[in-house]
């Protein structure tokens, strides 16, 4: 964080309209996904929006040479539409029971600005702040540009020291560590400090299965891969290789609720848990319907209270540091579909681009 600057991150939003007047919509984090909708619109116009399964496959095929993230954006909007059509929240259609979803505070990356997350101690203090707010879990995103392994180790230990023995702690170096030795060194510290998981530490960016099989043998902290591979087949290969201890899924990245559900079911078949990446209404619905999952990722949060999530919904819905209840939990919205109302007025006022596809 640099306190003298304001960033203007891009978001994208999609609205799918039908002849019955029912509209499916969602806001996504990846603008590249919105660009891909250019290639998907042809599948959608004139199609039955309830036919999510054939649409998922047709859309993935259209994007076979790309990361396919456009499928996520469309599929989530289709689920929103289905929920509105059946007058049911999505978790109901998935057979879930409305329940509290335990959240972890997932920090912004470290900074050097002072007053932010600029030292091991600053992370430690923020963990205490989060614990006092009710969070039962806390995940460190450490430094990106100028990572220092000794400082990483110190941060791992300082946060455990500060948070006490009972908080679940995770670290996500987000692919920053340059060498296997560095990854191992931090792994040893995580072992000592009894961390809950170690996520995507290495510069392989999700590609190097063999090194993570090795790492798995050398440390005892569970590994969580991978934010960096897309889709059920690739996630299954990682699970099957034994190089991860948790499954990872993101509805926006991995083919929507349809695609993320496939990953969750495959993980269940492997006897593994699936942890959903990042926070949004779709993930609250999905998580509500799953047994084999632990935490809702409230990201990215910061001692100043800032959040990187899109929080422009009308009504009460938000993903912010203080969005949890006294037990550190959030709930899925209970209205039809995603159960949230997007603040289109805000979006229209901040529009940088957009496109309409019509028959």
């Amino acid at each position: 964080m640099q306190s003298d600057r304001v960033l203007h991150p891009k978001r994208c939003a999609i609205r799918i309209e039908t002849d019955q007047g029912i509209t499916g919509e969602c806001v996504g984090p990846l603008v590249v996904a919105a660009r891909q909708v250019d290639l998907l619109a042809a599948h959608l116009l004139g199609a039955d929006p309830l036919a999510r399964e054939p649409l998922y496959h047709a859309m993935r095929l259209s994007l076979a040479q790309h990361d396919g993230t456009g499928v996520g954006l469309v599929d989530i909007a289709l689920w929103d539409l289905a929920g509105k059509f059946y007058d049911a929240p999505i978790y109901d259609l998935l057979g879930g029971r409305h329940r509290p979803l335990k959240a972890y505070a997932s920090t912004y990356p470290g900074d050097r600005a002072g007053g932010g997350l600029h030292t091991p101690q600053a992370f430690g203090e923020f963990a205490i702040q989060c614990r006092d707010l009710g969070y039962q879990g806390f995940k460190i995103h450490s430094w990106v540009d100028d990572v220092d392994i000794a400082e990483e180790v110190a941060t791992v230990l300082a946060v455990r020291e500060a948070a006490g023995p009972d908080m679940d702690l995770m670290i996500d170096p987000a692919g920053v560590y340059r060498t296997f030795a560095d990854m191992l060194r931090v792994g040893r510290a995580l072992d000592d400090a009894n961390y809950c998981w170690y996520e995507d530490p290495y510069r392989d960016l999700g590609g190097a299965t063999a090194s993570h099989q090795k790492l798995r043998q050398l440390i005892r902290t569970p590994l969580l891969r991978s934010d960096f591979v897309r889709g059920v087949e690739a996630q299954v290969e990682i699970m099957r290789s034994g190089s991860t201890d948790f499954g990872r899924a993101d509805a926006y990245h991995d083919g929507g609720i349809t695609g993320a559900l496939k990953i969750a079911r495959a993980a269940e078949g492997f006897g593994l848990d699936v942890e959903l990446h990042s926070c949004n209404p779709a993930h609250r619905h999905l998580m509500t319907a799953l047994r084999n999952t632990n935490y809702y990722e409230m990201n990215l949060v910061h001692p100043t209270g800032d959040s990187s999530a899109f929080n422009h919904y009308l009504g009460d819905y938000r993903d912010t540091l203080d969005a949890i209840d006294a037990n550190g939990c959030v709930f899925a919205p209970e209205g039809p579909g995603l159960g949230v109302e997007i603040d289109w007025e805000y979006i229209d006022a901040h529009r940088t681009d957009g496109k309409v596809f019509e028959q």
Binding site: E53, E233, V236, R265, G269
Partner: protein
């Protein structure tokens, strides 16, 4: 939003269905053609009633599953009928020391409730689009009574099925297998239909030895069969043996009919003991459990093949991409099929297909077909009711 359906009671009805021209084969465990004989079989129907007046129905299954249902039925009254996932997980744990087959009928009845509640067929709730489901004619076991009693009889029946429109044909052979006759049957059926059909062989675990299994496997290779299913007396559960078999023949294996549950199916796949994944909603945790298996198979890039017919399986298949054939059967040139007797206007008989050899999922709400209670009441029913 609407009031939610809360389960008020669970009702199990056991009744008798007569199966004309069918008897038991030599070992006494397979149904096979027996002209003039009528076998009385006990069938089961499950009803889950809710406070909204919606009743979820299930028909089919076996007594073993239903004895488990009686065990866990008291859990259901008071539960929210839409909450299939926690119910699946609770019952899976409750029945952990048994085969957990009670899950299937209960879950399918709950899907029937959900479909009626949302006024939607189940395949639509699963995101599928109604489409033709290509069928294979899945024969009765061989007999020695003038039905399927020789390689030539199987071949003639295959031609008959091909002429009806079936794109595929699966042999269930004899309960007293003679390996030379098995091989002759494999070859005779291929010779009769040429390359016009996909052919499968399911000895239903009758072969006594691995060597016999390999021997028939070689014949399947030569005759270019589509799959080889549960061949020998390991009972269809040895991962090691089927991985070995996989190395020795080139016909794809279909294992898993005798392995219950999602995790077990995944382990079977990981052990490389099968090339196709077998799933049965009635036996593997209902549509909820079967969808999990289908998704796991999809993640491994494999197809799932659904075991046996029935309306729930039509819905399931409609919603899945990675699947090939609907198993229509058991069918026979002379005896009528034993499915479908308890539904109104619905059959799984030999002639249930269209001219392209396909069937379709029912398009009504839920399971889309209703049980014929007048018929069931006339068939010596015994009813158990579980209330709160």
């Amino acid at each position: 939003m609407k009031d939610r359906p809360i389960i008020t009671s669970v009702e199990i009805t056991e009744f008798t269905v007569p199966l004309p021209d069918l008897g038991k084969d030599l070992t006494g465990f397979n149904l096979a053609y027996s002209p003039g004989e009528t076998t009385l079989t006990r069938r089961f129907a499950l009803q889950i009633h809710t406070d909204l007046g919606i009743t979820g129905e299930f028909f089919d299954g076996v007594g073993e599953s239903f004895s488990q249902i009686a065990l866990v039925a008291p859990y259901l009254p008071g539960k929210d009928a839409l909450q299939r996932e926690p119910i699946y997980n609770d019952l899976k744990r409750a029945l952990r020391k048994s085969d957990r087959t009670a899950l299937g009928p209960i879950d399918i009845a709950l899907w029937d409730i959900a479909g009626q509640f949302y006024n939607a067929p189940i395949y639509e709730l699963l995101g599928g689009v109604n489409r033709p489901l290509p069928c294979y004619a899945s024969t009765y076991h061989g007999d020695r009574n003038g039905g399927l009693d020789s390689p030539a009889a199987y071949a003639d029946f295959a031609v008959h099925c091909r002429d009806m429109g079936y794109p595929a044909f699966k042999i269930h052979t004899w309960g007293d297998p003679i390996i030379e006759e098995e091989i002759a049957t494999v070859a005779a059926v291929r010779a009769a239909v040429s390359d016009a059909m996909d052919l499968m062989s399911d000895p239903a675990c009758e072969y006594n030895t691995f060597a016999d299994t390999v021997k028939v496997g070689r014949a399947l290779d030569d005759a270019d069969y589509f799959w080889y299913e549960d061949p020998f007396k390991d009972g269809g559960v040895s991962a090691h043996a089927h991985r070995k078999l996989r190395e020795l023949i080139r016909t794809p294996l279909l294992q898993g009919e005798h392995v219950r549950g999602l995790e077990q199916h995944v382990d079977l796949i990981l052990a490389e003991a099968t090339d196709f994944v077998r799933v049965d909603a009635y036996l593997d945790g209902g549509l909820t459990g079967a969808m999990k298996i289908a998704h796991a198979a999809e993640g491994m890039g494999l197809d799932v093949e659904i075991h046996g017919p029935g309306p729930a399986h039509r819905h399931l298949m409609t919603a899945i991409r990675n699947t090939n054939y609907y198993e229509l059967g058991l069918v026979h040139p002379k005896a009528t099929a034993h499915y479908g007797y308890a539904y109104q206007d619905y059959t799984e008989d030999l002639d249930a297909i269209d001219q392209n050899g396909c069937v379709f999922a029912p398009t009504g709400p839920g399971i889309g077909v209703r049980l014929d209670w007048d018929y069931i009441r006339s068939r010596d029913p015994v009813t158990q009711v579980f209330e709160a």
